[in-house]
Symmetry: D3
Subunit: 135 residues, 6 copies
C-alpha cells in the first residue's frame, strides 16, 4: 500500500531576480520589481512529500520526525534568514526563481530519501504563487 | 526539468443550480437550496497551474505576472461580481456547477498557454468544496 | 474570571449594493461593480463571541453547542443560500453592506444571549474585507 | 470530461502510537512522545476526492451533499470524539498512524463510490503533517 | 508608543470534559460526546500577546525569541502530547474546557512577563471554537 | 452604530535588524540571525482597521475600495519589493522591527482617515509573529 506522506516547513529569505550577464535594463524589463538591486524577500512555505510503501512494522512510510530534521538540516540551515543570491552558493550563477529554488531543494533532499520512494517538493513564494517539482 | 507553476486568484459571483428544461420540483429535488430562484453566491478561489520545462534563460516556466494578467483578462473580467446564470453566456444552457465552471475556465485559458505545457484548474466553491480539471 | 468564547460559522449568499431611491447612475458611481442588478455573491464567514464569567460548575462561559445551534437558527436559516436583498425582509430597505449585515445579525442574536454577557460579531465578506460590531 | 471533486471534513480524536507486541522501551524509542500511554490527540482534517465523468444531466461528478453525508456516516460517526486505539475496532491490532488511518478510511469509503470513479483520501494529522492515499 | 506583540504556538493533547463528582449520566447530559471516558483530542493553537511600550534601544516590546521559548517551557512542555486530565496536575480537579485551559496558561505565563505589560491568551480548541482571556 | 471595518493587504520586503551605532557583535547578540548583513526577507500581511459610525446614506463606515487604494498608495508603493533598510527613508535610523514598521504605517495612514474614526494596524511578519498598534 503506497502512501504519500507530506511535511510542511518554512524559511524566510531575501533574493533578487536577475542575470549577471544581462544589462540592468534587460533585467528590469524581464523581472520588473523583482530586480530591485537591494533585494526584497519572502516567507517561503515548503511542502516535502515522500511516496512509498507503508512499513508494516511501524505503520510509517517515513518517520515524520526524521523528515522534519532532514528538512531542517538540508534546507532551513542553508536558506533561513539568508540572502539567497549572496549567501547560498547554488545561486551564484543561477537565478533564484521559485522554480530554481524548488529544484535545488529537491536535489539536496533526494540522496537522503530511500531510492525506492518518490520525492516531491512544493514551494510557496507567496500564498498566491507556488511551484511543484517531482524530479 | 519540468516544474508546475501555480497562481491563485479569486472572484465573487452569484449563481443558481437548475436546468431550464426541468420542473421547479425536479430542480428542487436534485439541487436543493442551490436552486433558490433568486440566486445565492460564493467567493470562488481559483488555482491555475501550468506544467512545463524551466526556461534556462529566465528560470521561469512562465512569468507569473503574465499568468496573473491572463487570469484577470480571461476569468475575472468575465466572472467577478457577476451573476453566472444571467451575465455569462457560457451558462445560458449549462448548469454552473463547480465542475462546469472549471471546464469553462480551462477552455478559456487553454489557447493562451504554450501548447507544450499542461494546464490544470482547481476551483474552490467554498473552502470545503472544490474541483480539479486537467483537460 | 471573564473569558470571551468565540464560534465560527458561515453562510453563502447573493446580494447587490444599492439604494432604491437613487438613480442607477448614482448607485453605479457609489457602489461600482457591487451594484450589478443581477447580483453577485459571497461566502460569508462569521465569528460570534460572547464574553462573560466562567460558570464554575461546567467550566463554560456558554456551551459552544448552544451557541452553534443559536447561530444556525438565527443566522444560517435566514441567510444561507439566500438572496439578501430579495429573500431577507431586513434588507428590503437597508443596503446589505457588511456593516449593516453585521448589525442585523447582532440584533437577532442579542436577545438570546445572557444580558450579563457582552456580544461581538465579526463578519468576513471576503478573506480581505471584514467588519466587527459590538453593539 | 473527467473532473476530480473534493470535500473537506474533520474529526477530533485521541490516539497513541505503539505496538502491543513491543516493549515500552522499544515503543518509546520508535514513537517518542506519541507513545504516551495516556494518549494525546488531534483535530484531523480530511479531504475526500472522487474523480470521474461529469454527469451531463446534473453537471455533477457526484452530489457533494451525498459525499458529505457519506463521510459523516462512514468516517465521522466512527472516529469523531473517539479514542482511536480503544473505541475503533480497526485499530485494535493496527497502529493508528496517519498512514494507516487514511487506508482504513479509504477502505470504508470505496464500496460506496461508483466503481468507475477513482477515490483519494488526504488526511491531515496536523497542519504540518499529512498523508495521501489513492488505493 | 504601546504595541501588542503576538506569538502563535500549538500543542496536541487528549482530554475529556466531565466532573468527577457528577454521575456519568449527568456528565453525558451536559458534555455530550466530549465526555467519552476513553478521551478524544485536539490540535490546540495558542496566540500569546504582550502589550507594552516599544523599547527605543531595540525596537522590540519583547524579543519574540524569548516569548517563543517561554511558551515552549511553560506551555508546550506541560501540555504537548499529553492527556490533560491524566498528565497535567492543574486539571486533576478542574474540567479542561478551553476556558479553563486558557486561564491555566495565562497563570503560568503571567509571572514571566514584565508586570508593566498586559498579557492576553487566545486558545483555539478547533478552528471554529476559541476563547480569549486577559486576566 | 459604531463598526470597525478591516482590510487585509500585503507586501514583500527585505530587511535587517541592527543598530548602526552598535558593534556587529552586540547586534549579533541581540538580534541573532535577523542581523544577517546581507538581509533576509518576509511576506508581510497587513490588516488596517477603521472604526466609526455607519454612514446611513451608504451603509459604509468607509468605502473599502478607498481604503484599499489608500493602503496601496501609502504602504505598498513604499514597501513592496523593497529593502526596508536601504530603500525606505523612515528606517535609515530606525530599526525595522515589526513594532516600528507598524508605527510607521500607522503614521502614514492616520492623516488620510477621518479624524473622528479610530485607526488600527496589525502587521504579520510571519504567520506566527505579529503586532498590533492603535496609536
Amino acid at each position: 500500500m503506497k502512501v504519500k506522506v507530506s511535511r510542511k516547513a518554512n524559511f524566510n529569505a531575501a533574493h533578487r531576480l536577475y542575470r549577471k550577464d544581462w544589462s540592468f535594463e534587460k533585467n528590469e524589463a524581464v523581472f520588473g520589481k523583482c530586480n530591485n538591486p537591494r533585494y526584497h524577500g519572502h516567507n517561503y512555505d515548503l511542502i516535502v512529500s515522500v511516496e512509498g510503501e507503508i512499513d508494516p512494522e511501524t505503520g510509517y512510510v517515513m518517520d515524520m520526525k526524521v523528515l522534519k530534521d532532514l528538512i531542517k538540516d538540508q534546507v532551513e540551515e542553508r536558506f533561513d534568514h539568508k540572502n539567497l543570491n549572496e549567501d547560498v552558493p547554488d545561486f551564484q550563477n543561477l537565478n533564484p526563481t521559485a522554480e530554481n529554488i524548488a529544484v535545488v531543494i529537491w536535489n539536496y533532499l533526494r540522496p537522503h530519501i530511500d531510492s525506492a520512494n518518490k520525492l516531491e517538493v512544493v514551494l510557496y513564494e507567496t500564498p498566491r504563487n507556488f511551484v511543484t517539482y517531482n524530479g
